[in-house]
Symmetry: C2
Subunit: 539 residues, 2 copies
């Protein structure tokens, strides 16, 4: 684990870590962005103790653990019973909403709190369309490349920039050990796809998989503390032929593994036939289902086809079964979908799956830009989140090409923070626009440092500015490199604003409107000097 | 001009330049992407002779010139007269549409062909919602930085990656000379904002501007061959007070210059009062108006406000005047707009401006990501183009921070090609999905080289792949670094597909559906072995 010594810790530029203490002693973290005008903005913070200079980071010991109630069932069961759990109180403070809203959304199955009893290192968070849109970052090594240390580093790095959950998709060696390091040190919920590890145990041969082996793998992961698991239980034998004429067949790893198994034995998937048993296991730990879309489209051509929607219908059945066991459920979604077919996915998911939180991979709005799929998919992600998707699984620039490195992870996270925030704005999330307004005000007032620090990525914003105007005075200058000192439209605007003292704009507007009407009456002569009008309405 | 020796010329990876010859001898360029399976895909090509290895590039001499008809008026006037011009025939071949559609859209004012008689070096193209969505790349030096050679290089570089037009926004020294080099060597239409040069002539003092000076500057640029010009004639004196309470006031350079002028003299803008005279000048050269949105919102808070829409209403009046003079018109649009307010912009523009082509700057869907505004704005751009915007003005990662360098220009162009293509797909543009299908088929068949070459940016796709698996054999391997050789879902899918020989999928599906109904009749027992069903429906 030597490479982990390179972990990025300490505050993000311009920010300090603050906590709001709850009556039970829990401390809800925020990132406070300190502005040069003496104001500040507190924003949602996913980074855990790593950005707190007062926290002692010891990867061997793991993060501090919060108290966990183990004997009253799942968050869903407790919500239904009318209980507002400690996690719900924490989340309400974090999101700035009433705790009763948290409880009622969880009770209705419209939101989930992925919080395995055995992962007390995580800070409670919620996934549901009534709350801020969340993003997930996939990490994990493969048979070909990367080490445990790199993956722990990526986890810390991804949460630093805003990942709300992490999925460990390791498929290579040391899956158990990699996951252990990640879980003990992750401040956010961790998801997995247990079939990957199960397959590793049978040497990569899908036909050697059995229910018993899979079940034991799930229990092993539940014991470790995995908060949510992708289960491709909707890939049924009868769905498989629907994929044959597709351009890209089955692109989900889990989906194709299960399809291969079903086909080999010409029998129904053990994930489907043993689903109730799986629910009983999940309920014991309060693990959340992420019902996988094993038949999601892997190309624009395959979007919204019969295979995809047949599986979604099955996921709807499974949702009901899971909820009848008191288990929390979210539903995974595509994939590759052209923009005009995106909203249908959300509507159908809500209809078939009782509005269980939708958790989508992008979708990519076109197939033609490998190397830039964080962008192709941020477009689809923003659109699908606006329509009601609760969590977005990021896509990095390396999608389809290779495993993401540190830079790719950050690029993916930032692109998805943009998509999620754009959707929060569009949905009218109460706190969302505060940050846009703060940043735009700073921009207009030439408070460059504030503009950088309010940005999703202050380091890059500052670096780009400094490429052209590196000198310190340029950071307070009332111009920038785009226009130079004489042309600046912001400065000219300020001159205009100075001509209209504060608070008079409404009055001016009314005066102007009256004059404008007068003007229209006189036949809209455009050459009329408006000097009189102006001086009448300004003090 | 020594740095221009570094121009990127020669074909894009995997492509060759092909021409389709028209009856009049004109040659319509395409980029032919050659695939390893013997097939090819011809795509729209904006790059001009620079990607043709047989072309001789001589920047001093400029590009070859096509014949120009000077004495029959503008494309709009000729279209109204029922004439299908040589430019329209060229465009029809380029877009793959009937030439009559080109003529009728131009005649209706729903599309423009920016083609100054004095810019015969450009290859005719069209901007209108019935055609492929276009993108513009801004270049130009400023008082602070960059040289002529750099700007010519950026022009060649931007069109190489797909810029359909270029705007030269130079504000520093040598504006005339920079523009001359760009025009003589640009294969795409060139736009400008003449007020920038006018202001330069009066030493950056807006109050020294006069109609005569502006007019002479416009004539100078018309003579040089500028194809379209941004004119902020919609910034009226009565609109200015509407901006006072904004978070970011007036952010358009042209808008703020005109506002400052209006305010200084308390009189109406000379652009507005002399608009008819401007139309007469534009008509002589067939220069297209790009009616600027000088009051566009510069922040989420200011989107769709009274100032913005008051100006849009004025642009509607001006559109009618321009068209009455036979001058082509497009309308510029925002800026910064949250997703839920985007579509209203298009609807209002279409209503007020007689569906003149809309040409928008992004819009940015959030303010909080300086350094990544190619992404924040690609989201807004895709949404607004889907709604009917005809051309998208790119935004680079440097927006708000500094002048774009070569890398930024490419990043901006690629992000906007993605947005434009996503919109073409969503609008059902007839040719758009061909490329997605070709790329996805190549991906599914592990034709790595074809996947790279079909990408918007083959170089980056290849480079990202090679970071993990550089060896040549990996380019034909039926797996990639994400999953490694054993886990590949694509390979497993292929195995599945092999189990269902070609052409049987429909049959299988029908057989399965019948069995599925049978299955439902028997009470949906999920444990039923489906082996019998499968063997019945497979040969």
């Amino acid at each position: 684990m030597s490479a982990v010594a390179n972990l990025s810790t300490g505050p993000i530029s311009g920010s300090t870590k603050v906590y709001r203490e709850l009556p039970d002693g829990a401390r809800v973290p925020f990132r406070r962005i300190n502005l040069t005008n003496g104001e500040h903005l507190d924003v949602y913070d996913t980074s855990g103790p790593y950005t707190d200079p007062d926290a002692r980071i010891d990867l061997e010991a793991g993060l501090p653990r919060r108290p966990v109630v183990r004997d009253r069932g799942t968050q869903l069961q407790r919500a239904r019973a009318g209980e507002i759990t400690a996690e719900m109180v924490f989340i309400a403070e974090r999101e700035g909403v009433p705790s009763e809203l948290v409880r009622s959304e969880v009770a209705a199955g419209r939101a989930v709190i992925p919080a395995n009893h055995n992962h007390p290192e995580s800070e409670p968070m919620i996934i549901g369309k009534a709350f801020a849109v969340k993003i997930n970052a996939n990490i994990g090594n493969s048979a070909v490349t990367s080490s445990i240390a790199e993956e722990v580093d990526k986890m810390v790095w991804a949460t630093r920039w805003g990942a709300d959950t992490i999925m460990d998709l390791s498929t290579g060696k040391n899956i158990h050990e990699t996951r252990e390091w990640i879980l003990r040190n992750s401040p956010v919920p961790v998801g997995t796809v247990p079939i990957y590890q199960a397959l590793e145990k049978v040497d990569g041969e899908p036909t050697k998989l059995t229910w018993e082996l899979y079940r034991d793998t799930v229990i092993e992961q539940c014991e470790q503390g995995v908060d949510y698991m992708t289960v491709h239980a909707g890939v049924l034998l009868r769905h498989i032929p629907l994929t044959v004429d597709r351009v890209t067949g089955i692109v989900s790893r889990g989906g194709s593994i299960m399809a291969a198994w079903c086909l080999a034995y010409h029998t129904e998937s053990f994930l489907y036939t043993h689903f109730a048993e799986l629910c009983e296991i999940f309920a014991r730990y309060d693990v959340t289902f992420s019902l996988g879309d094993g038949l999601r489209p892997g190309s624009i051509a395959d979007a919204n086809d019969a295979a995809q929607f047949a599986e979604l219908r099955t996921l709807g059945e499974l949702t009901k079964i899971a909820k009848s066991h008191g288990v929390q459920v979210m539903i995974e979604g595509p994939g590759h979908v052209p923009m005009h077919k995106i909203v249908e996915n959300v509507r159908l998911e809500e209809e078939l799956c009782e509005e269980a939180p939708f958790y989508t991979l992008g979708p990519l709005a076109t197939d033609i830009a490998p190397g830039y799929d964080h962008i192709t998919s941020a477009i689809g992600a923003a659109v699908i989140a606006q329509a009601g998707t609760a969590m977005l699984c990021y896509v990095t620039p390396k999608e389809h090409l290779g495993l993401p490195n540190r830079k790719d992870v950050k690029d993916g996270v930032i692109a998805y923070k943009i998509a999620a925030h754009a959707a929060d704005l569009a949905k009218g999330h109460p706190r969302a626009q505060q940050r846009d307004d703060a940043l735009s005000t700073a921009r207009f007032e030439f408070r460059w440092e504030d503009q950088f620090n309010l940005a999703l990525d202050p380091d890059t914003a500052r670096e780009f500015h400094d490429e052209t105007l590196p000198a310190a005075p340029a950071k307070t200058a009332h111009f920038c490199s785009m226009c130079g000192p004489k042309f600046c439209s912001m400065r000219i605007t300020q001159d205009i604003r100075d001509a209209y003292p504060d608070g008079t704009a409404g009055e001016i507007e009314r005066g102007m409107a009256a004059k404008s009407a007068e003007f229209a009456e006189r036949g809209n002569r455009v050459y009329l000097p408006l000097e009189a009008t102006m001086s009448e309405s300004t003090p």
